[in-house]
């Protein structure tokens, strides 16, 4: 009897134990995986102006379709939902930052929280808390809080490639300038600039005025500055031949600067007596009104030569075409490549690309200025070599699947 009871007890215990053993793995098999959020970190976003926080946490097998990560931020009291990201997204390896400033870790999630968007009264240096919550159906898990005080960084390391290029250009710039003092430079002839003498001579012979437009750019634009340099040389020649010069302006500041330049040009050739204050005059700051007004003047006064050098937009063709119908010699130059075709077809000579910036130095014949043309040549040589080498490397990298090299080459030539 006792044996029977003992046997029954042992059997019952074994049965219960086997049932428990059989049941546990089954329940574990059906439960969704849960991520490990112990590696959650919040740090100041590097190389920014202190308005972003970088959140990272490890990639886990729980990052399945349908699961999401909810990012929460707090300034001390309430939690604000900063973002909700699909669990399989926002990887550190997907962040588009250069290799020297960012580690593309495929085992980490990365999220950049923009603080002013989350907290309107945000100030760099204040402390904030962050946490991330994993949600997959009914399963959810929160990380521990991480505190961070974002601060501004002094140097944007992402732009170090640009900075290195700038320093190189400055070094080459000073080298060529110092070199120019000792030696002269050969400069290829630029037909458009050589034709200035012809145009002014023609105007003198015909007794007709010369129109010079600096375009519709402001004084802070490089093509306008380049145009005023050319105006100085044109004005000198005009003053020498005692021809009439008219410079209509779109921008009053450009007009003021041009007045000074033209007056200086007249002074340099000892013809200050011929200088009139109304050589430079303001027309309007409206694009088509400016075009209409200058077109009217060109049409009525039939100038012998027209110069359209500077920043031009849609008015380029309006001006150049009217000038062409009056039979004037026309010389144009702009940095707007979309307007160049109009100038090509309507003008006798067009300064293409960097010729516009070289014109001042070319005309003035000053060694210091001319030497800087060499920097442009070095720059073009560098671009040509970089384009050729970059193309070969990217091609080779694509064919032979050298991903690291592709990554390095692409980042080196990219602006951030």
């Amino acid at each position: 009897m006792l044996n029977k009871r003992l046997n029954l007890t042992i059997f019952s215990v074994l049965f219960a134990a086997s049932a428990v053993c059989a049941a546990t793995p089954a329940s574990q098999k059906n439960a969704p995986p849960v991520p490990d959020l112990s590696g959650f970190q919040a740090v100041d976003m590097p190389y920014d102006k202190g308005e972003a926080v970088l959140l990272t946490w490890p990639v886990t097998p729980a990052d399945v379709p349908g699961a999401v990560y909810q990012v929460y931020a707090s300034a001390g009291k309430d939690w604000v939902k900063a973002a909700e990201l699909p669990a399989a997204s926002s990887l550190a390896s997907e962040v588009e930052l250069p290799f020297w400033a960012w580690k593309r870790d495929a085992a980490l999630h990365a999220f950049q929280a923009e603080m002013p968007a989350l907290f309107p009264g945000f100030k760099p240096g204040d402390g904030y808390s962050f946490k991330v919550k994993y949600v997959n159906g009914k399963t959810s898990l929160e990380s521990a809080e991480a505190k961070v005080a974002p601060k501004a960084n002094f140097f944007n390391l992402n732009r170090v490639n640009n900075f290195v290029l700038l320093v190189t250009i400055i070094v080459v710039f000073f080298w060529t300038v110092s070199h120019a003092k000792r030696k002269g430079l050969f400069i290829r002839r630029i037909a458009g600039l050589d034709a200035i003498d012809e145009a002014i001579g023609r105007a003198t012979e015909m007794g007709r005025p010369i129109f010079y437009s600096t375009g519709i750019g402001s004084m802070s634009m490089v093509p306008t500055i380049a145009s005023t340099s050319i105006l100085a040389e044109v004005a000198k020649k005009v003053a020498t031949y005692d021809t009439q010069l008219k410079v209509p302006h779109f921008d009053p500041i450009v007009m003021t600067v041009s007045k000074e330049i033209v007056k200086q040009a007249y002074t340099e050739v000892n013809r200050l007596d011929s200088y009139r204050d109304d050589i430079n005059f303001f027309v309007t700051q409206d694009q088509f009104s400016f075009a209409a007004s200058v077109d009217g003047m060109i049409h009525r006064e039939k100038p012998a030569a027209c110069f359209f050098i500077g920043h031009f937009m849609a008015e380029s063709l309006l001006l150049a075409e009217v000038g062409a119908t009056t039979g004037a010699i026309q010389i144009a130059g702009t940095e707007q490549e979309s307007q160049l075709p109009f100038f090509f077809t309507s003008c006798d000579y067009t300064l293409i690309g960097e010729e516009l910036y070289a014109a001042g130095a070319y005309l003035s014949k000053e060694p210091m200025l001319q030497s800087t043309l060499k920097v442009q040549d070095f720059g073009k040589a560098f671009v040509m070599v970089a384009v050729a080498a970059g193309s070969v490397l990217v091609l080779a990298g694509t064919i032979y699947k050298w991903d690291t090299m592709l990554y390095v080459v692409k980042h080196l030539f990219k602006g951030y």
């Binding site: 009053p252 007056k263 160049l340 690309g353």
Partner: protein
Amino acid sequence: MILIKKYIPLALCFLFGVLTLGSYYVPTAASENYMEAMNQWENIVAGFAFLLGLFGLFYSHYNKITRKVDGWGYSLFVYIGFFMMVIPAILSEGKIMEGTTLTSIGWGYRFIYNALASTMFSVLAFYIVSTAYRAFRIKSAQAAVLFVAALIVILGKVPLGQMLWDTTLGWTGTQVSGIVQWLMDVPVVAGRRGIMMGLAIGGIVTGLKIIFGIERQYMGRD
């Protein structure tokens, strides 16, 4: 005098040039505030300069009228146009709309200014035709290439051209739109980028010339 006319402007140009250049690499709030302040100053100076330009314009046209120079009648329109816009603007307190109705300045803006500006812009279409005629005259091998490329682009951009292509050259199996896309994506982009790179380099060098005081013509020479 030379200190005020030459050295101080050059020093200011260098200082603000370097600061502006440096602000591109320094992502602090101070750097951002500096750029904002510079833009505000530019606007302030431009506002005063506009007044200067306006007075200069009036003075110049006043002289033309009083001296009765050729075409002095046009100068009258400067004053007429100016007062036609400024007086209604003052009367309607600068508002374009009053509820759902146009104010006098709104009317002038829409029915005078906009009409005139649109007319000028539409003139472009006619000028493009005459320019295209000149551009497409085949005088050399390069001009012939330009003409052929332009013709293909024109054909590819209009339905009639596409229909003509399909009728006459459809047997080749090539779509004119594909050729146009290739022309726009490859030779055109290559040419444009070449010009843009040259311009960028020229722009950088000109900027450095100004910052370091080598290019000084914009401030008049001593």
